[in-house]
């Protein structure tokens, strides 16, 4: 998804209330290029936001969804492969000091995405 296309999606924050709430496409999170608006317009609730750390997991690992076992496996650079559950501690939230702990550093864990209610524009 390009940045231009990303800006067409309705809102980077999700409003709840739909009967079948859905999260955004996974790639959505990394691709929104819109800069913050000016002070005065920008919601007060977004004052003081800080970057989510990119995480302690190396980019060199590859995540594969094993459709037979219905779990994700992680392929490391040394060729070894382990299940995501063994490789990755399920994490609570983006952490500023201990690294990102929810498997894929590009995707916040559900809890931090707020009430899922994402609708494509």
């Amino acid at each position: 998804m390009s940045s231009d296309e990303c800006s067409l999606w309705r809102d980077p924050l999700f409003s709840p209330g739909d009967g079948f709430p859905l999260g955004p496409p996974l790639e959505f999170w990394a691709d929104c290029a819109d800069p913050p608006s000016t002070i005065g317009v920008r919601p007060y609730s977004l004052h003081g936001v800080v970057p989510v750390p990119t995480g302690s997991y190396p980019d060199s690992v590859t995540y594969d969804y094993d459709a037979d076992r219905q779990i994700t496996t992680v392929r490391c650079t040394d060729g070894s492969s382990v299940t995501l559950a063994k490789h990755t501690k399920p994490g609570p939230t983006p952490a500023s000091t201990s690294g990102y702990t929810d498997g894929d550093p590009k995707n916040p864990p559900p809890e931090e995405m707020g009430q899922p209610d994402y609708q494509a524009d």
């Binding site: 009967g19 079948f20 913050p36 800080v50 494509a120």
Partner: protein
């Protein structure tokens, strides 16, 4: 009878549940809704006793009548084929929501949690329901009026905190950003520009705190973790400094446990993660309940068998009415 899991492909907590269900020999059909419609097929018919038919992907097929329970764990949005225009994409999304959710949500099985009930659990509503259920909550204002915030602060005569009503994470400027709970000083009250842009939540800042607690409730089972902050940042918002945290098993007072159960019943939820501040004199003050909260890290830290409790719940498939 099969457990249907609607979740993203990459989520270790879901993998743990899948592995334990597999060990117990319970069939699973796991899919993300991003698979619909390109690699997930719904073919349903309305029969005398409700909807039946199949849900199928290239690897397996599930008869809707074989579903014993559904774990709804924040699946991601449908992904449509390239080439659709924006209006066509909107139309397709609306049709998919109505069709897929309409069929699945009409199945008379246990949902953990039923999607619309999860969506109903908005923070302001939670606080009102929690109070009715006998839980203590902070004095709270929701407003887009800056002067209203100042009046609220003056009435309380205590420091305020502000936190987001919905998501903690925003994607902008090419990256992810997060908003932690902020304590408002006097200077903040002098300059509240941006409050008028949308709804904002302000609460009495709870101090002193002995510790915070994250209580995970799975059906009737309660797993309560004390979260002890080891830095100033973590005392404001424990999410901001995980490295400083230590954990302990704690026991909520009986009326708090009863309140949480009543809260979940009121919303029709069978799973929820409650956040509390606990004062030095033992008062438990609830901030919120996250119906799709994270729990794996507390399972690791404290040995809580939350995955097993979830698997028990999904395997039993008993709908409480």
């Amino acid at each position: 009878m099969t457990v249907l899991i609607l979740a993203r492909d990459i989520e270790p907590q879901v993998d743990r549940v899948v592995e334990e269900l597999t060990e117990r020999g319970i069939p699973i059909f796991r899919t993300d809704l991003a698979a619909f419609p390109t690699s997930l097929i719904l073919d349903a018919r309305l029969g005398p006793s409700g909807w039946d038919g199949v849900l199928a992907n290239p690897h397996r097929q599930l008869k809707l009548s074989d579903i014993r329970s559904v774990w709804y764990r924040h699946p991601s949005h449908f992904v449509f084929p390239d080439g659709l225009t924006r209006p066509e994409r909107r139309h397709a999304a609306a049709e998919a929501r109505c069709g897929l959710s309409g069929v699945l949500c009409s199945l008379d099985v246990l949902w953990v949690n039923f999607p619309s009930r999860e969506a109903d659990a908005l923070k302001p509503r939670q606080l009102a329901v929690a109070r009715r259920c006998g839980l203590r909550v902070p004095e709270t204002a929701v407003t887009n009026c800056a002067n209203g915030v100042r009046v609220f602060a003056a009435e309380l005569g205590r420091p305020l905190a502000t936190k987001n009503l919905s998501a903690a994470v925003i994607a902008e400027a090419g990256g992810l950003h997060t908003a932690y709970t902020r304590r408002l000083e006097q200077a903040d009250l002098d300059d509240l520009c941006g409050v008028e842009t949308t709804a904002h939540l302000f609460q009495r800042f709870i101090e002193p705190k002995a510790f915070e607690a994250r209580v995970t409730v799975v059906g009737d089972r309660v797993f309560a973790a004390g979260i002890h902050a080891g830095s100033e940042a973590a005392r404001l918002d424990f999410r901001s400094d995980y490295a400083s945290l230590t954990y302990s098993v704690v026991t909520p007072p009986e009326q708090v446990t009863a309140g949480m159960r009543a809260f979940l019943r009121a919303f029709g939820l069978s799973f929820g993660c409650f956040d509390f501040a606990v004062t030095p004199d033992g008062e438990w003050i609830m901030f919120e309940c996250n119906p799709f909260g994270q729990y794996g890290w507390l399972e690791d830290e404290l040995g809580f068998p939350i995955t097993s409790a979830l698997v028990d719940l999904l395997a039993d498939g008993v709908v409480s009415r």
